[in-house]
């Protein structure tokens, strides 16, 4: 459970980079997560060392981020949301149907646990340390990025694209890099997930998976890293109490989605900037 918390945190903070800082309403984040998971799983099953699979998962997702940024660069708001949603859906359908590569709906079983210089992260505690380590590094890098001059340029692009262009910045490049970085970390999160569960199938990467992550970044507040941390902890742990009470999983699944969507609606209506947010979506 705490491992999932770490994975959700990496996903949320990377989406925060795209949505909160760069102002790109990306509804295709789950696709990068899926791409990372599949890339890492396939490479590991082909016998590649874990650390290479892990890094390549990020790189492959990043390449897709770049490819997605090319056509969508000029789109804004609603249209960008639809296009990225479309991307996410296409990735899902391909994962489901390209049976030769992904084994379709049967999924890929037997993904090995990470081995790093002879050390096997087989039990949950070791894996937890690994996840938290990656989460911490991701947080550190993203914080560095957002407080750097590049981060300022990102926020400037979000607030006023034209003005940023007048100042001689290439907003095309800025937005593209933001999406690539965001995709990179989502790919890493996907890799962690694949090696933790050791089994992936397309049903882990449906559109509904997006709701918890969007809820996290909006509750925490857009463009706030501190808010993202707090919101991840609250939102991942809260629905877990349902499983403790002892409801069967056929109820817990939908009930969790209901809780997330209700929280999201409530926050959008009454506290649109979340707890630590600086900006609102436009």
């Amino acid at each position: 459970m705490l491992i999932l918390l770490g994975i959700y945190f990496i996903l949320a903070i990377s989406l925060q980079l795209a949505v909160g800082f760069a102002g790109l309403l990306n509804l295709g984040h789950i696709a990068f997560y899926a791409i990372g998971a599949y890339a890492s799983a396939l490479l590991a099953l082909a016998g590649w060392p874990w650390w290479l699979c892990f890094l390549l998962a990020g790189v492959v997702a990043m390449i897709f981020g770049f490819l997605l940024s090319l056509p969508t660069n000029k789109l804004k708001g609603d249209y960008l949301a639809l296009a990225t949603l479309g991307f996410s859906f296409v990735v899902y359908v391909v994962a489901l149907n390209w049976k030769g590569l992904t084994n379709g709906s049967l999924g890929l079983p037997g993904i090995p646990k990470p081995i790093f210089f002879g050390f096997i992260f087989s039990d949950n505690f070791n894996f937890l340390l690994l996840t938290f380590f990656v989460a911490f590094i991701s947080y550190f890098i993203i914080r560095k990025i957002t407080s750097s001059p590049f981060g300022k340029a990102l926020e400037a692009t979000r607030d006023d694209e034209l003005a940023t262009r007048i100042l001689g910045k290439s907003t095309f490049k800025i937005k593209s890099i933001a999406l690539m970085l965001s995709a990179f970390f989502a790919g890493l999160a996907g890799s962690l997930y694949a090696h933790y569960i050791t089994f992936i199938d397309p049903s882990s990467f449906t559109l509904t998976q997006l709701i918890p992550i969007i809820t996290i970044i909006i509750i925490g507040g857009l463009a706030s890293l501190k808010g993202t941390i707090i919101a991840t902890i609250i939102l991942v742990l809260l629905p877990e109490s349902l499983s403790f009470v002892g409801f069967p999983s056929s109820i817990v699944g939908p009930a969790r989605q209901i809780i997330y969507s209700l929280i999201l609606l409530w926050i959008l209506i009454y506290k649109p900037r979340g707890f630590y947010g600086k900006v609102e979506l436009e």
């Binding site: 309403l25 509804l27 056509p71 969508t72 789109l75 804004k76 708001g77 609603d78 249209y79 949301a81 639809l82 296009a83 479309g86 991307f87 859906f89 296409v90 359908v93 391909v94 489901l96 149907n97 559109l207 509904t208 997006l210 709701i211 969007i214 809820t215 909006i218 056929s250 109820i251 699944g253 939908p254 009930a255 989605q257 209901i258 997330y260 969507s261 209700l262 999201l264 609606l265 959008l268 209506i269 649109p272 609102e280 979506l281 436009e282």
Partner: protein, 291 residues
């Protein structure tokens, strides 16, 4: 030749159902200016309401249909008042409304999942009739009815938008909200009407689709995707455009099977959407606006 005709008929059936979804979507989008994902949720609720009334409570079929459509209208109205109106009150951007409606879609689908389970449901109202031979292609009487009825409904809506006072006011708000308010049209009232009419059409679409195929909790999302793809291809905010786009989508999807495995049918819709968003975001019949 037989295959060609069969695919053509399949395209028409798909196009007719997509058109019904696209129209409701387009109506709400053109006046309220945000992407109402929750429209798919209303549809799936109406379909399950019909299932509940007819198959579980064993009510008369006609009565169940009427109640299901009324239920859809009520739900659409409720979403507008309880969520969208509150958001508009504080002048939320269309991106916020979009996320809210996405949350509503997931909320509605999860409720269905909780109440009825994930399994597919059928009505058993019309025994699967033997298909009619039609120049070598097979079509069931129900499917003929779906096509004719949707064309009738679309014609009715077209007439409503062109001739009635509310229809004209809706087009005025869609065109320029401020100017419409100046001449005394209450935009809130028009939003309400868009949701009521759009949801009623969604209710009818739910009945027709439910008769033709199985019900599943996730059907709302997939139909919504088809609906807005149809609406965007044809030109958002244009009723004839949405119809044209939906039939076009039906054609491309069904004829795409010639080149691609059938599992990719759903991806085709999005690829077309993608192409249109990039090169012609205003659609075939749409008017160019700032987007």
């Amino acid at each position: 030749m037989d295959i060609f005709l069969q695919l053509l008929i399949n395209s028409l059936i798909a196009g007719a159902t997509y058109a019904l979804v696209a129209i409701g979507f387009s109506l709400i989008y053109s006046t309220c200016r945000f992407i109402p994902f929750a429209h798919g949720g209303v549809l799936v609720f109406a379909a399950y309401a019909l299932y509940f009334l007819f198959s579980i409570l064993n009510l008369n079929f006609g009565l169940s249909v009427i109640l299901a459509v009324i239920f859809a209208v009520f739900l659409g109205w409720l979403l507008n008042v309880a969520v969208y109106k509150q958001l508009r009150k504080r002048k939320a951007s269309s991106a916020i409304l979009l996320i809210a409606s996405f949350a509503l879609l997931v909320l509605l689908e999860s409720f269905i999942l909780l109440l009825f389970g994930a399994g597919a449901k059928t009505f058993d109202f019309i025994k699967v009739a033997k298909g009619l031979e039609f120049f070598g292609a097979i079509i069931t009487p129900l499917q003929v009815f779906i096509i004719i009825f949707s064309i009738f409904l679309l014609w009715l809506l077209f007439f409503f938008m062109k001739k009635t006072k509310i229809g004209k006011a809706m087009r005025a708000v869609a065109d320029n909200r401020d100017a419409a308010e100046i001449v005394g049209i209450s935009s809130e009232k028009i939003y309400m009407w868009s949701f009521v009419i759009g949801s009623a059409i969604a209710g009818v679409a739910a009945v027709l689709i439910g008769l033709d195929r199985n019900l599943e909790p996730t059907m709302g999302t997939s139909l919504m995707i088809k609906g807005f793809t149809g609406a965007i291809i044809g030109g958002i905010g244009s009723v004839p455009g949405a119809i044209l786009g939906s039939f076009l989508l039906g054609l491309v999807e069904n004829f795409g099977i010639w080149f691609l495995p059938s599992g990719y049918k759903d991806a085709v819709a999005f690829l077309i959407l993608f192409v249109f968003l990039l090169f012609k975001p205003q659609g075939i019949l749409g008017i160019k606006k700032n987007c």
